[in-house]
């Protein structure tokens, strides 16, 4: 199908469903969308797994684009309109106007009450507008129940739903009948896609010879099989799980070692495949995940407590790490959950991969995170063992909870407007609560209280925005393929966002945490305690971006900074962290969300929102990047890696849904002093470290890459919660990464 035809059909399907249920509309739209978006199997692919982003479509979050649920890609539309100057172009223009009104993001905005609309900008424009807080439009962090999928197969799953449907019919539960019957129909759509691919594979097999023929034949068999039957081999299980992920619109691949380990062990034992073949499968899947290019997503989780069979899972985990060594891509975001007593071979393989500079696997510490998640989410430790990070590092409970990060708050910007009595000097507009100017507060405590009030104001707005967003999205589409693999949805006969799951939560991304803490400390010690800077002078200097205030700036820079294991400043940082996290966590009741939690993650928003943040009291210049997540501000950690790590662990991990720690280590340390590097990480984890995302470079690599990018095309760096080729990053992001201390 050509784009024009597709766009028309999809839009017609949507329009013609005006009087129908959301479930039926979703089904009809997907029936058009599926055949269009699934690309043919590539010659070198061992699995069917390619997908394109449609001009208009229905996903929880569109691939690569901004939007949620029913969404459209304006750029693609405009290009098509330009290419079709005739009647088609006019028609497309009309369709574009239709979607400008009908897209789900628009519907969410229209639902805002006055106070939300007044406090947040109209759009998710954190990268191009000056504001304290922003909404994000998406539903992300979907981890499907692969165990259930693989244990039942599509046919079996359909049987389970049919059984529940029969009961709903007897009970006269019309809502459940609707949900479950369209759930079955969508499963059938998925089966059709598999059949279509099987046909492609069969015709390819007919034309191929030798090894290629074998590959196409295997694919054809697998695809026929999984369209209804239960998968029995590793190949079938990998095909079914990855393909379903794409169809459902999820970007994460779950605890892969756990759900594939058994298949691997069985295949190896029965001699169906060799270890090398298994590795080849995994590498191919890795390439397909990378091909999807979802940047912040693509999580594959290995390791950790709570797996059904650690032995078989670890065997898969080892191959997964091996694949990440050879497939030098920025995805999948391979993540290893570590714990005391884990398989040493897996831990060592992980260090080997990290030492290669792959940035993977990222390490998460179960021993700290499980009790922390239990507390933060208010669930049992048993359940907390199912915590999984998605995106840039936010936790959810495997196929039981959602916690889409749908709001951003720039805490440093909040400080900026607070000291100016609710005024944004950059845009010249009123912003936030007007609580007085810095000089109006007689004590640091009274000022700190005002700042907290400001943050509380935005937190409440953001939490309500998130609940509202879910509500609107739920009315637009039930996401039945997702609901089928989320706990309780089938049993309840209710879709995922409408009360189908027990733990519908939300998260808020906080930025500028560390700059704010350092600024607070400087204000406390220099303005209030020692009185060496007057409040008026400070604000003037910040307004002037320190021009003419060089001596004052030096004093600010010389004030102790978080990241050096200095108790007084770290203590204030921890207190501030506590406040921000608890404030968010307290929003669950008013919003009806199961949880609403801070995530101290980072993509590149620290650089992007920094560009709209004036000079700050920590000595940071106007528009400079903010510190990355909970890590020290670039270059301010001068006391060595142990001091930096000691500072990190002072932040309570049990009140948020994840905090990422980016660290830069030299190649020499991780290779020539491996035992010390290992000891460093182990101790950090024992002391309470939650997570480590490790970059490994040679000294000078980044500088050289900025000078001669053509020679460093393969230099992969961890930006925040995602990895990227360094040379493809914008200059300001490169500079921020360079500024981080290399140990």
């Amino acid at each position: 199908m050509q784009p024009y035809e597709y766009i028309k059909s999809f839009t017609d399907a949507y329009r013609n469903a005006e009087d129908l249920s959301a479930a039926e509309r979703e089904y009809r739209c997907l029936a058009v969308q599926f055949p269009y978006v699934f690309d043919p199997i590539g010659d070198d692919d061992l699995f069917a797994g390619k997908l394109k982003a449609p001009e208009v479509g229905l996903w929880p979050e569109p691939l690569g684009g901004r939007g949620v649920c029913f969404h459209y890609d304006e750029k693609k539309f405009l290009r098509l309109i330009e290419e079709n100057a005739d009647g088609k172009g006019r028609e497309l223009q009309a369709i574009l106007s239709f979607w400008e009104k009908e897209n789900t993001r628009k519907k969410i905005r229209e639902a805002y009450p006055a106070d939300i609309a007044g406090a947040l900008p109209y759009d998710d424009v954190y990268y191009k507008e000056s504001c304290v807080a922003f909404p994000l439009y998406r539903v992300v962090g979907i981890y499907l129940d692969y165990e259930k999928l693989l244990a039942n197969g599509i046919g079996g799953l359909d049987g389970v739903i049919a059984g529940r449907l029969a009961k709903a019919e007897t009970d006269g539960d019309s809502g459940a009948v609707l949900t479950l019957s369209f759930m079955r129909k969508e499963l059938a759509l998925f089966a059709e896609v598999c059949e279509r691919y099987a046909s492609q594979a069969e015709s390819m097999a007919a034309r191929a010879a030798g090894k290629r023929k074998k590959k196409w034949e295997r694919l054809a068999r697998t695809l026929r099989k999984i369209s209804s039957g239960k998968p029995e081999t590793l190949h079938e299980a990998m095909q079914l799980s990855s393909r379903y992920t794409l169809a459902a619109g999820s970007y994460n691949y779950g605890r892969m070692d756990d759900y594939l380990g058994g298949f691997l062990a069985r295949d190896l034992e029965s001699g169906v495949i060799s270890k090398d073949e298994a590795s080849e499968y995994i590498r191919s899947l890795w390439r397909l995940i990378a091909y999807r290019d979802s940047v912040f997503h693509g999580r594959v989780i290995i390791g950790g407590k709570g797996r059904r069979n650690e032995k078989t899972a670890d065997a898969f985990a080892l191959l997964a790490i091996e694949a990440s060594k050879t497939v030098a891509e920025t995805e999948p975001q391979l993540t290893l959950r570590v714990y005391e007593g884990m398989n040493e071979a897996v831990a060592e393989a992980a260090l080997d991969c990290i030492a290669l500079g792959r940035t993977y696997p990222m390490l998460l510490n179960d021993d700290v995170n499980i009790p922390a998640v239990a507390n933060a989410f208010r669930v049992s430790e048993e359940l907390a063992r199912e915590y999984l990070p998605f995106g840039c590092g936010e936790y959810v409970l495997n196929h039981q909870s959602l916690g889409s990060p749908n709001g951003i708050i720039n805490l440093l910007k909040a400080l900026e407007v607070t000291i100016r009595n609710g005024f944004d000097a950059l845009s010249g507009k009123k912003m936030g609560l007007a609580l007085g100017r810095l000089e109006d507060f007689p004590t640091f405590e009274s000022f700190y209280e005002a700042y907290k009030k400001q943050i509380g104001y935005y937190m409440e707005i953001l939490a309500r925005q998130e609940a509202l967003e879910y509500e609107v999205v739920a009315k637009q589409a039930p996401f039945l393929l997702i609901s089928a693999l989320f706990d309780d949805c089938i049993e309840r006969g209710v879709p995922v966002l409408s009360g189908g799951i027990r733990y519908l939560g939300g998260t808020v991304e906080t930025y500028g945490n560390v700059n704010s803490a350092n600024s607070l400390f400087a204000i406390k010690s220099l303005v209030y305690d020692k009185k060496v800077i007057s409040p008026e002078e400070l604000v003037k200097a910040l307004d002037a971006n320190f021009e003419g205030y060089e001596a004052l700036r030096q004093k600010l820079l010389a004030a102790p900074k978080y990241g050096n294991d200095i108790d007084e400043v770290d203590g204030l940082a921890a207190d501030f962290h506590q406040f921000v996290c608890e404030k968010a966590r307290a929003q669950n009741e008013a919003t009806g969300l199961h949880s609403y939690l801070v995530v101290v993650i980072n993509n590149q928003a620290n650089t992007q929102v920094g560009a709209y943040t004036l000079a700050s009291a920590d000595g940071r210049g106007a528009y400079d990047a903010l510190a990355n997540a909970n890590s020290p501000a670039g270059g301010t950690d001068t006391q060595g890696a142990t001091a930096m790590l000691n500072s990190l662990v002072k932040m309570d991990p049990s009140i948020h849904a994840g905090s990422v720690q980016n660290m830069k280590f030299s190649k020499t340390l991780v290779t020539e002093h491996r035992d010390l590097f290992r000891a460093l990480l182990r101790t950090y984890f024992k002391q309470g470290g939650t997570q480590a995302m490790i970059n490994v470079f040679n000294r000078g690599d980044l500088e050289n890459a900025m000078r001669e990018p053509e020679k460093y095309g393969n230099l992969i760096v961890r930006v925040g919660g995602f990895s990227a080729r360094f040379v493809t990053l914008p200059k300001d992001v490169q500079t921020e990464i360079l500024s981080r201390t290399l140990y």
Partner: protein, 248 residues
């Protein structure tokens, strides 16, 4: 008990085993031309062109700082190292540091240039787990030319420490054009044969990071422009001091 440091460095991985904190005590009897810590020369706190070098600190404060990383030492087999300058120049301070460190179960190293009173060194070594003993130049005349003192006392002290049963690692700075010749490497080897109970000999390749500090202090750096040796050269040097029975 207070003393004077010019630096307190955490997460050190080159000054003794494991992850360590190194306290650099100010004051040195030698004047090595390549020294990368020239701020250690003078014993007292100094002020040069508005910049202060060195600070007074109590033994308790130093050890408290070191204790912050105790968990890291325990995991890596590390501890605390007292270096300089020449730490023996602040003998009483050093002894109280060592006592306090021991009371807190920290593994201790002392790095010495060997140019100190023999009795003092012996007393220090009795309180220390491991001595890092610098051995710079084998020929006494050349030694004097480059460090300001001949090496007789240093060699006698090494012998005395060895005979007293101290655990010793020899630390050998190799400076291109000064001591990167076979004669010196054989002398190192000979020492290892002479004192087979020594735990090893480490090559400390020349590094030019001291150059800017000499300037800051208003001093003339005699090795201006000298390049750091490359990895291959360093590896060759390491080979040359290996002995059959005591590889490190």
């Amino acid at each position: 008990m207070k003393g004077i440091l010019f630096n307190l460095q955490r997460f050190s991985i080159h000054d003794g085993p494991g992850i360590r904190t190194v306290a650099f005590l100010k004051g040195c009897p030698l004047r090595c031309g390549w020294c990368h810590n020239p701020e250690s020369f003078k014993r007292g706190v100094q002020s040069v062109n508005g910049k202060t070098f060195g600070y007074e600190i109590s033994a308790g404060e130093v050890v408290a700082e070191a204790l912050r990383d105790k968990a890291y030492y325990e995991e890596s087999g590390g501890g605390v190292t007292f270096s300089g300058g020449e730490p023996a120049l602040q003998k009483d301070f050093l002894l109280s540091l060592l006592t306090l460190a021991k009371e807190n179960n920290l593994h201790t190293c002392v790095e010495t240039c060997g140019f100190a009173e023999t009795e003092a060194l012996l007393e220090i070594s009795r309180q220390t787990d491991l001595i890092l003993f610098d051995y710079k130049i084998s020929d006494p005349e050349t030694h004097k030319r480059h460090t300001g003192q001949p090496n007789g006392l240093i060699l006698r002290n090494l012998k005395a420490l060895y005979e007293s049963g101290s655990k010793i690692i020899l630390r050998c700075p190799v400076i291109p054009g000064v001591n990167d010749h076979d004669g010196h490497f054989s002398a190192v080897k000979n020492l290892r044969r002479q004192y087979p109970g020594m735990l090893g000999a480490e090559i400390m390749p020349y590094h030019n990071m001291g150059e800017s500090k000499w300037k800051e202090l208003g001093l003339d750096y005699g090795f201006a422009g000298l390049k750091n040796p490359d990895e291959k050269t360093v590896n060759e040097w390491k080979e040359k001091v290996k002995t059959r029975d005591a590889a490190l």
